[in-house]
């Protein structure tokens, strides 16, 4: 193994910043510490969240989900399993739904992110939000932001003719059917079991769109 510039261990950095402290005193030490962090374990990033430019300086380990919740205080996006299994953390990036728990914030430099807060406001609901309320598409509500973000992007996927596991003919236009919707929403788990009302809500929105 050849040591490279990238392999500087945390220990080496601590040793070198300690040496700097000894040589140039406390102020210099603080500066060295800041640059250590910047160079190694934290990263500055800018992206757009709900059409607003945001700038962050985060620990490289920060998931997009934690950046949204803990740094930007957009707590609408929920942390369920934190392992991509439940869908509560679903957000929309450049039009596509993803699990924000399984991606690093620093991998989204320059991206446009939409969270549940960006889809609509209490006095100006997105049609999907309104339909979930109308059809009682939830009980406890914890999975709901993820369900709604997922369903909005999911309908766009059908419109873009992306096939699913239940699509009969791969070479025909994909139809919006309850079976298609159920299959495509399987990445969003609802422990209250509000599934049938969720499907009703989505069908209503799909119907008014078509």
């Amino acid at each position: 193994m050849h040591p490279t510039q990238l392999e500087i261990s945390r220990r080496d950095l601590l040793i070198s910043s300690a040496a700097t402290v000894a040589a140039i005193g406390i102020a210099g030490g603080a500066a060295a510490q800041a640059s250590r962090n910047e160079m190694a374990y934290t990263t500055k990033l800018t992206f757009t969240v709900n059409e607003e430019g945001r700038e962050l300086d985060v620990d490289n380990r920060t998931t997009l989900l934690d950046a949204l919740r803990e740094h930007l205080h957009l707590t609408g996006t929920k942390k369920g399993c934190d392992h991509g299994q439940c869908g509560a953390c679903t957000v929309i990036i450049d039009g596509r739904r993803i699990n924000s728990c399984l991606t690093l914030a620093i991998m989204h430099e320059g991206d446009a992110i939409t969270t549940i807060e960006g889809l609509g406001k209490p006095d100006d609901l997105h049609p999907m939000q309104a339909a979930f309320v109308k059809h009682d598409g939830f009980q406890c509500g914890y999975c709901t932001p993820g369900q709604i973000c997922s369903s909005v992007a999911m309908l766009a996927e059908i419109q873009a003719n992306i096939p699913s596991h239940v699509t009969d003919n791969l070479n025909a236009e994909v139809a919006i059917t309850p079976v298609e919707i159920r299959e495509r929403m399987s990445g969003n788990i609802c422990r209250c079991g509000a599934y049938s009302n969720i499907v009703d809500a989505i069908i209503e929105v799909a119907g008014t769109k078509a």
Binding site: L6, R61, G84, M107, E157, P163, S164, H165, G187
Partner: protein
């Protein structure tokens, strides 16, 4: 998660070079498998090389009449590609049978091939596991092994490879293109990419340290009926217990690979020739050396039955 440094690779060669010279470095593509494992400290890279900006997200025709799929093409885009749907339907079918819409939007072609096993003991850091910690023992042998492999296993590991896409690529005889740390390129037939566990279950592929996958090549289309049949504990969003990927011609000849039963997508070319003789004859050759733990014996029957359903569907 352990701390790590991060860079966005600016070229394929630079990415491979850094990775080959730093045993602590890992590529990150969609991140859906790597980050999952990093959270549990099963993977502990000290440096991440983000390979998302290398322009490897294209699907192009090859001069041989096949397709060249960039390593970073997302699973959603590959499944939705018009040519893939028309000429390699098996691949579309396998992709959309895996994971969820959200995950497929992130997951990449190379990342999918290199995803690690879903053996629950591999994930449980309190239990011995030779794959996670070489030499510590295999908890699945003598433990809960219902979902484990029935063929190609060893006394060190009985894990399965979880990818659906890889089963389709094995059926289609895809080739993996890669770049090594010294800049040299090579092509690896999919049959040779994944290893059986043997005494070193922690080594899962023939890729060298730092070797970077740039593309997956598909040969000319085969025609015939393309069928992917996945059997799992729930109808969606679950890994396969058994899956069968097949291309079957009108005369009943064809080829078949099976997922969920081995450390790699399982294909035995001699079994292909038995397809016209039916599911029993084919699975007898496919599973000639099968060895179950008892708990997973059902998979041996399930392969035959799933294959039977696939052969029937091809006639229908």
């Amino acid at each position: 998660m352990r701390p790590f440094t991060y860079e966005r690779a600016s070229s394929i060669e630079a990415a491979a070079k850094v990775a080959a010279s730093n045993s602590q470095a890992k590529f990150i593509a969609g991140g859906t498998n790597l980050l999952d494992l990093m959270k549990l400290e099963i993977e502990t890279p000290a440096h991440l090389i983000d390979v998302n900006d290398l322009g490897l997200d294209k699907i192009e025709a090859t001069s041989e009449g096949g397709l060249r799929i960039g390593a970073l093409v997302r699973n959603t885009d590959l499944a939705a590609d018009e040519t893939v749907r028309r000429d390699y339907g098996l691949l579309s079918r396998a992709l959309v049978a895996g994971a969820s819409g959200q995950l497929r939007n992130k997951a990449t072609t190379a990342g999918n091939l290199l995803q690690r096993t879903r053996c629950p003991y591999f994930y449980d850091t309190n239990q011995p596991c030779n794959k996670r910690q070489p030499g510590s023992g295999c908890s699945a042998i003598g433990g809960f092994s219902r979902q484990h492999a029935v063929i190609g296993t060893s006394d060190a590991c009985i894990a399965t490879h979880p990818s659906d896409m890889a089963v389709a690529l094995r059926t289609l005889d895809a080739t993996i293109e890669s770049v090594k740390g010294d800049g040299s390129r090579r092509s690896i037939p999919i049959a040779d990419l994944h290893r059986l566990p043997g005494d070193t279950p922690e080594i899962e592929t023939v890729l060298e340290p730092g070797e970077f996958i740039t593309a997956v090549l598909l040969p000319r289309p085969l025609g015939g009926k393309h069928i992917y049949r996945k059997v799992r504990d729930r109808a969606s969003y679950a890994f396969a217990l058994v899956s069968v990927g097949a291309v079957i011609q009108p005369d009943g000849t064809g080829r078949v690979a099976v997922g969920g039963i081995a450390h790699k997508p399982w294909r035995v070319e001699a079994a292909d020739t038995e397809l016209p003789n039916g599911a029993r004859a084919t699975s007898r050759v496919l599973l000639a050396d099968a060895r179950s733990t008892g708990q997973n014996r059902f998979k041996i029957d399930l392969v035959e039955r799933t294959l039977g359903a696939v052969i029937a569907a091809a006639k229908g």
